[in-house]
Amino acid sequence: MDAKRSSPSYLYWLFCQFELITCSYLMEPWEKVLFYSFNLAMLGLLLYTAYVCLAFHLSSALQLLWSLLGNPRENALSVVK
């Protein structure tokens, strides 16, 4: 098959595939700007929500796991209940 492409041109090729699948290859430049900014805004929102909420969920899940493993601790978990 093809030789392994270098990293920047591989990323560019991946970007071209994204363009083809979402049909932004066919759009005029201002439509592309609109589409990409909408996508980036959605992605940013998703990442922010994940950053804010994930830490809390992960820590509470880890504490539950820790307590189930036989180290009962009187901690915030009983208050959370």
Binding site: Q17, L20, I21, T22, C23, S24, Y25, L26, M27, E31
Partner: protein, 518 residues
Amino acid sequence: INHIVHNGALYKRPFNEAFEETPMLVAVLTYVGYGVLTLFGYLRDFMRHWKIEKCQNATEREEQKDFVPLYQDFENFYNRNLYMRIRDSWNRPICSVPGAKVDMMERVSHDYNWTFTYTGRVIKDVINMGSYNYLGFAQKTGPCQEAAAKVLSQYGAGVCSTRQEMGNLDKHEELEKLVARFLGVESAMTYGMGFATNSMNIPALVGKGCLILSDELNHASLVLGARLSGATIRIFKHNNMQSLEKLLRDAIVHGQPRTRRPWKKILILVEGIYSMEGSIVRLPEVIALKKKYKSYLYLDEAHSIGALGPGGRGVVEYFGLNPEDVDVMMGTFTKSFGAAGGYIAGKKELIDYLRTYSHSAAYATSMSPPVVEQIITSMKCIMGEDGTTIGRARVQQLAENTIYFRRRLKEMGFIIYGNEDSPIVPLMLYMPAKIGAFGREMLKRNIGVVVVGFPATPIIESRARFCLSAAHTKEMLDTALKEVNEVGDLLQVKYSRRRLVPLLDRPFDETTYEETED
């Protein structure tokens, strides 16, 4: 699903047809692409309506804005917002004879395909994979051209009359006798236009009180002729003999819808090769059904005449059947003979009836004499009556090209529809952006292909259609295959999930060993 029929009683050779299913991920992504384009289409329509953007498409006049809207249905929406974006892959002007290589005029668009301007440059020697030039008779030199030039200097170009009035030349009589001899039937009649042959003669054959059973994917000319005739039309699934038999049985048992009288005539409309799918009709089974249920068969051999069969006599010869079993054989001269026009052939009583009652004979201008001579010369060449074996060699070359090209494409991993022996090769693309991208990338690499989307195909099954020709040498095919491979990797259109094991006996590859490490 691969249909390899082992019914040795009807089929004398294996019937390999495959229509691989659309992969689920590809279908979902295609819908995503169409969804995005639809949203942007609504946005653009909104902007055009509120005059934020200049409206360049056709709209109603100011005074007519309160009437019933003309341009609000889906076809017009698709036209404005989706077709316009990829329009540069169609209607490309060519400026030479459409042989194996063709010259194209280069054009650019500065306002996203609403208008085009010619740069003045001519793209030379584009490998032509789009013309219906199956036997390579689209030539500007050679015996056909010389004969046509001689007839042009003798008869002129125009006939200035219809067949029934003063337009019946001796050349037409000669051509009709030749066509009848070529097909192995009693008599034939020719018309100036292939589309008009279907649409004007089916109304002369059937009328109200008759039943037409037509295949799902029949050509627009057959559909138009069927609708114009006024008969009842029922559709059976594409190439599906169980569906056809069920319809026949229902028709005979129940008769006409309200009165329950028996149908006056039952006519089955099928095509030899379907041009969008590349599939070949299951003719032995259709003829067996026709004989069992006493109906008539109308076979449209537009693409298969000259292209199938060891002698180029079409799909009837390909299956080894008797031409007298088919009641009405229709075909066109546009595809394999390098001319224009159509014919209908069959029993003498049928053709004599059509000479009087066909709309095309009474109202359409008859064929131009140089075109008639081109058909006569090319048909004699195929039959071998001009003393050479060029015709036979061309038919064989087309068959070899077909098998080689199809096998190589399948090995590369593309989804190819259709029968193994049909010279029409549809390569599935599915996504709308890839339609435009494929056409443009192939033209950059000097290969001209035809890409097809909605409404000629279902909306997610868009494809690129290759038409092979006897004029393509194996070097041209190898070049084309290399470029298709490259573009396929670039665009990621190799969707097939069944990789065929490449056969080691490639009879045409003595000089192309360097191509094997793909």
